[in-house]
Point group: C2
């Protein structure tokens, strides 16, 4: 067989599941959307979709978190403690691997989106990338050498505690940390602080200064990991908000203070860019996860 393999990709989200049969963004054979209800009902419906498809060589699953991605753990591929009714402890990855007897890749939806952006999106051709989604929550996925950066678990860098802008003592909305990155700059944080949804907040509203400062601190941290050759930002708060990118870039550059002198980081306009795949990053990321699981299986 020549060309990339055909993969069944599943993006398991909190309200819907995107199923895609594809080799890549230019070779999509089918797409099906299913509402997320109970685990059994939802996963059975996904299995029925895959039963109707032919010729896929592997499965990739991009799941809402938290999930166990630790292959050394008994709960690998399961959803961990989540407020979502019925989903705590749900087995995802092993269920599909058993049911279809195929190599099955599994990771968070954010990590999957990072993989897709690095392969086909705003970081196409870059083996090392960070992806940040700013929406209901703030998620970070990192890719190094074309693979997810992980170990014990997946990244949760949206919960870093940033240094505060001078004089800003707003307490934030994160139930765990108050004023962590997510607690200060997510969609719900912006609404809580201003009474207005992010998409309706005027560009000149001073609350954006705090958001830009906070996200700049996150980018400062990501640059200091040494991993990304580019940082791709998406999600509801970033999308369609052209004024925000220059402010976030400036906040990062100001915070780094010239410390990382590499040209890639110094040119903030090309270092921090909008996502290229939009809502397709998740399901396409699931395709990358399936492709990598297949390659790992073949290499064994």
């Amino acid at each position: 067989m020549s060309g990339p393999p055909l993969i069944a990709g599943i993006e398991l989200g909190g309200t819907k599941v995107n199923c895609i049969l594809a080799c890549g963004p230019d070779a999509v054979q089918d797409e099906v959307r299913i509402p997320t209800t109970s685990p059994d009902e939802t996963l059975a419906a996904v299995e029925a979709v895959l039963d109707g498809w032919n010729g896929f060589a592997a499965i990739g699953i991009a799941s809402f978190g938290p999930v166990s991605i630790d292959r050394a753990s008994a709960d690998y591929g399961h959803v961990l403690a989540t407020p979502k009714p019925g989903w705590t402890g749900a087995d995802i990855a092993r269920r599909f691997a058993r049911r279809f007897d195929l190599p099955t890749g599994f990771h968070t939806d954010v990590t999957a989106a990072a993989l897709a952006e690095a392969k086909w999106g705003a970081g196409a051709g870059l083996a090392d990338l960070a992806y940040v989604t700013v929406g209901t929550g703030i998620g970070v996925g990192m890719v190094a050498g074309g693979r997810p950066v992980d170990g014990l678990t997946h990244a949760e860098l949206g919960h870093l505690r940033p240094v505060r802008a001078s004089g800003d003592e707003w307490v934030g909305v994160c139930p765990f940390h108050g004023a962590c990155i997510e607690g200060l700059a997510s969609g719900p944080a912006i609404r809580a602080r201003t009474g207005t949804a992010a998409e309706a907040l005027a560009p000149e509203d001073p609350a954006w200064d705090g958001v830009a400062h906070t996200l700049g601190q996150l980018l400062h941290a990501l640059a200091l990991t040494g991993v990304p050759r580019r940082i791709v930002m998406g999600g509801g708060v970033m999308t369609g908000m052209p004024h925000l990118f220059p402010r976030v870039r400036a906040a990062m550059t100001r915070s780094l203070g010239g410390y990382v002198s590499l040209a890639e980081v110094a040119d903030a306009d090309t270092y921090v860019v909008p996502a290229g795949l939009g809502g397709r990053a998740g399901p396409l990321g699931a395709v990358v996860l399936g492709t990598q699981a297949l390659a790992a299986f073949t290499d064994r």
Copy 2:
């Protein structure tokens, strides 16, 4: 050939070079120490040491930073801009690879120490680990799947800007960031704040609270990367300071606020531990780098 290969390891430090001919900590055939002077003089002296050794299959170099570890870059294996006279732009890795025509691994001294601690030290047997050295500077090395976590460059997470402890507005000593982690908790920071060297500062001195808070913020960040199964801490400020570990662990746990609920992280006493290899982590890390370079060459 059976058993691990014999490697020439070179830890290139700011004041001295540790050369080691070894397969591992229990199979050291020779160790030689050379003062660090000019690049040409120093590296020629190291070459002369290696000329006198027989049977090594690869070379590993653990260098002071900043260095380029980007194989896609023309300056791979070179020292980048450094205040150290004569060393900016010095070619290290390619010089040794050419001279000895052997696979040559190259990374920072901190990353090398992380590799050694993960293989033979306080994280022996763990494929995913973070190593933090707190001394003249604060350095972080991360290992995932037994390999350095990197991409564009090596980690510089000692320069994160931590959220400050309530009421603490000390400006810190980092020339780039003032109150970054290194600017607040390194040896020079402690001396600048208290007038006393860290090793002479009484455990009940209130300055330790700020140091513990700051290092707790760094550990919070490292845990949120998702990578480490354990965090190993060494360096002059941590070593021989038994009161500091419990305080740093408590600061991390307080800051995470229960967010990472995995048992590995929740048990802070086993999650954050003292380094196991002491001053030998650097040269032994160079041996790991050489071993990995040899394996990559053999796999080609």
